[in-house]
Amino acid sequence: MKIARSVLIVFLLLMPAFAWADDAVYRYPIDDSYAATILGTPQNLRPDTRVEVPVKTMVLETDQKKPEIFFYDRGLRYTVAFQDRKAPLIFLIAGTGGSSKSAKIVALITNLYHAGFHVIALPSPTFSNFIINASTTHVPGNLPEDANDLYRVMEQIWSQSKGRIDVTDFSLAGYSLGGTEAAFIARLDEERKVFDFRRVLMLNPAVSLYTSASRIEGLLERIPGGPRRIGAFYNRVMEKSTEYYRKGDFVAIDDDFLFAAYKAQILNRDEAGGMIAVSFRISSAGMIFASDVMTHGGYVVPKNRELKNSDLLEDYFWTCLHLSFLDYFNEYFIPYLQNRRPGLTKEELLEALSLKSIESYLASSAKIGVITNEDDFILAPGELDYLRRVFGPRLKVYPRGGHLGNLEYRDNMAFLIDRLRSSTW
């Protein structure tokens, strides 16, 4: 008896700590962080929101003079869903390269509208439409400036909308880079008080823009031939997937197909990570090109060339896909800022583009909360602990879900909505 008992105690002590925490009851099904990020949440595990959501795309006209190549761009496009009664309003900010209609934003709009909020969603400042229309410098990435631009746009949209809706109070949420930006906007709002946000939620935010971008770019170091061979890598992944599709009896490239491919382990972990980085590159390619055209920066397009609609852009596309976010940062972004502020060092700048630069505000502001995952790979080792230290009880960490993979999982969505509604964290 006694021996059995001590064996049991030793066994219990050896069990990893997380087995006792949330994990015991948290049932989000995908263990692998890359797979979770790609697949998201299976349809049947999402909240039931079968309501008609009156989603509308709106255009905020701006007086930017646009190059001919962006002739189709008629202003900043944002997305709204308004209640027909008095309700709280929430602003949403998309992640890197995301439009105001990206899949994650649409999921948030649907759920928050269902929960009784007026919703106004904005694209990311790294999205070409924002770079063209709403960015003062047309050079995205400088978080305090991007926050300024976002705040100005929010004010303009609010003055357009306020005649049509009855609002009780304001909240703000953003995911990924949009989450980090939300923190900067919240601080700005403390000075300007236009909205006086009741709640601010950061969903899977980056602590440091540069670190998170490096982490994602780092995924390409593990593909055959490294980042210079993303084309070959992409082709091989597509061939594998097509081959699998050919053999199986699938009706379409849909969730069923993707989950089946995941279960059959069509891609290994390095390949899954590589695909995440490729999709990041596709976003940043649009950002780099739009910024360069708007500033005549001479980065990928000759400085003094005016592009026309019939001009071929494929070479620019290929070039931009092969430039990393870090290339953009080191070769284009930093020189641009140093030009404006001589003497600025890279270290100072990196510090300014991190939550650390507004740490004391974040630590003391009871309205701001963070939701993230233990295995979110955009956070470097130590950054999760940093968030724990700064936000304390206002940080919620799920045991798995990768980068935003569990956003639509019903427990996550219920928690998120509950935090937005409550007056205390």
């Binding site: 761009d73 061979r229 082709n235 001479g298 019939s310 001009d311 620019y316 092969h322």
Partner: protein, 254 residues
Amino acid sequence: MYSNAIKLIIITFQVLLLSGCAGRVALLPGEVPPMHTVSEFSDDENVSRTRDPWEGLNRSMYKFNYEVDRFVLLPVVTGYEKAVPGFARTGVSNFFGNLREIRTFYNCILQAKGKKSLVTLGRFVTNSTIGIGGLFDPATAFGMRREHEDFDRTLESWGVGTGPYLVLPILGPNTVRSAGGFAVDGGVRWAIANAIDPFGGTGAPTEIETGITGLETVDLRYRESFRYYDSDYPFEYYMVRYIFSERRELTTIR
């Protein structure tokens, strides 16, 4: 109707040809070279395998379609959605879908696909009778899956290559082969309609046919959610071209 459409296509192409095509990106006199050019990255494998020698023309056509959408088709679709209730729009879609079963049927025969042709014939008979002239689609509920075949795929089964990428006015992304296939299917349909002459006794067959073609165009646009330049992505043209050819390849597998 179709001969008019083809005439329009030819005229538009001639206009665009005259308006000039853009060349490759090379440095012009007086231009400052950018920090990065594509030549640095020529050691990587190309992703797009779509041949697009008429890209300048295609890009102009892409823009043309955007304008047609913006000023004509989409306003009409919006009006259609407002004026016609949902169940009736579904009926219209079913009706034209049912007519297209004829195209699928003879193309299945041309490709010697016995089972598919029988299913399609079964669908057409079921929906034309129980489905009241094709307004409803009971065949799907009976487990007969809608197949999609056209003369483009028949040409493919005969070993004809796709030819270069071609953005057609109004119809959008195509290849030379699919454009040819479309013309042949249109011709067959015209011939069938002429032989049956369903509106011969009405006294205004041309007007009725024009109305039907118009309604079909509106229905096609109504069911297609794609919007030109809606992604706001500066390289949308290439993404669309890539997705078009991938989708083509995947449906060929079926």
